[in-house]
């Protein structure tokens, strides 16, 4: 594993994590300001934080109630 981590060029991989991070941050920011959710608010927090990529996407698609 050690060797694996050393073999990877982080300059190449970093943007991938950066974009995932951005997605997470924007989802959290949106979540923090909103109050009309489908289901409990804490549940959406768990979905956003613990499910990688898919969590924020599912939140953006289904998390908020339209009004």
């Amino acid at each position: 594993m050690q060797e694996f981590l050393e073999n990877i060029n982080w300059g190449i991989i970093a943007p991938l994590f950066f974009i995932q991070g951005l997605l997470l941050i924007f989802a959290i920011l949106d979540w923090a300001k909103a109050d009309n959710f489908r289901g409990p608010k804490w549940m959406w927090f768990c979905i956003i934080v613990f499910i990688n990529i898919v969590g924020p996407v599912v939140y953006f698609l289904f998390g908020r109630r339209r009004n």
Binding site: M1, E3, F4, N7, I8, I12, I13, P15, L16, I19, Q20, L22, L23, F26, A27, D30, I53, P56, V57, F60, L61, R64, R66, N67
Partner: protein, 259 residues
């Protein structure tokens, strides 16, 4: 035209407010680059987690740029289409359901403006997101796998863009058909799946089926040549989209008049 711009701006603000302009491009970038990157690092990943005996040498042929383009497009054709359909399923159906459409349409708003402004706003979002995602893929291809010219990149955008145009228009079409967003998504996906099956079965007769676009684009990048099939298929795809758009305006009009 003034009215159309107002409606279009309303859609753009709405897509901005519900953060679609942020998350859709981000997700499209991830779709475009995840496969190429994991392919590039596959030997190391297997090495690290595979538990293979000491000294095993893993050799994998490095994919050609055309194959990597096909990987990215493959992701757009599956998850990308899913996201397009899910983001647009409520755009009209949802507004009819919660009464916003009624509020707008009591004013002297032309139906064709209402539908086409929504269509254009969504199409713009998807095309920009796709361009951003594909640009990331193009960047990595040149960095890791070999040369892919900028002209090829632009042609990929142009030709695959017609497929996305079709998907967006199809979704808008079903939006005018059903009042429930879930049904819109279901029938849009169903139509695309059925089309792809039909294209596979009757491949020899349906040379210009929109579902063939990805394959022809792969060929274009591989051979560095724009085939007549690719041009023909794109024209057919655009033509179907225009017909669908006109049909959706017509359906929406008749439906509203009945109510």
């Amino acid at each position: 035209m003034m009215q159309w711009m107002t409606l279009f701006n309303k859609e753009m603000t709405e897509n901005w407010r519900n953060k679609k302009w942020i998350w859709v491009p981000l997700v499209f970038i991830l779709l475009a680059i995840t496969d190429p990157l994991s392919t590039y690092y596959m030997p190391q990943i297997i090495d690290a987690v595979g538990g293979l005996p000491e000294g095993t040498i893993i050799e994998m042929p490095e994919p050609a740029p055309a194959e990597v383009v096909a990987m990215s497009l493959g992701q757009f054709s599956s998850f990308g289409v899913l996201i397009i359909v899910l983001t647009s399923m409520g755009t009209i159906a949802g507004e009819i359901k919660n009464g916003v459409a009624e509020l707008i349409l009591v004013k002297p708003v032309a139906y064709k403006n209402y539908i086409s402004a929504k269509w254009a706003a969504h199409l713009l979002l998807i095309l920009v997101a796709f361009a951003v995602g594909m640009f990331a893929s193009w960047y990595y291809i040149n960095l890791l796998f070999g040369d892919l010219s900028f002209t090829s990149f632009l042609f990929i955008l142009l030709f695959y863009g017609t497929w996305l145009l079709f998907v967006v228009t199809l979704s808008i079409f079903y939006n005018t058909f059903f009042k429930t967003p879930g049904l819109v998504a279901f029938f849009s996906i169903l139509t695309i799946v059925v089309m792809s099956i039909v294209t596979q079965i009757f491949g020899t007769y349906l040379e210009w089926s929109p579902n063939n676009l990805s394959n022809y684009i792969f060929e274009m990048v591989r051979a560095d040549d724009i085939s007549s099939q690719l041009v023909g298929t794109s024209i057919v795809t655009v033509a179907i989209s225009i017909v669908l758009l006109i049909l959706s305006i017509y359906i929406f009009k008749t439906k509203e008049l009945i109510q």
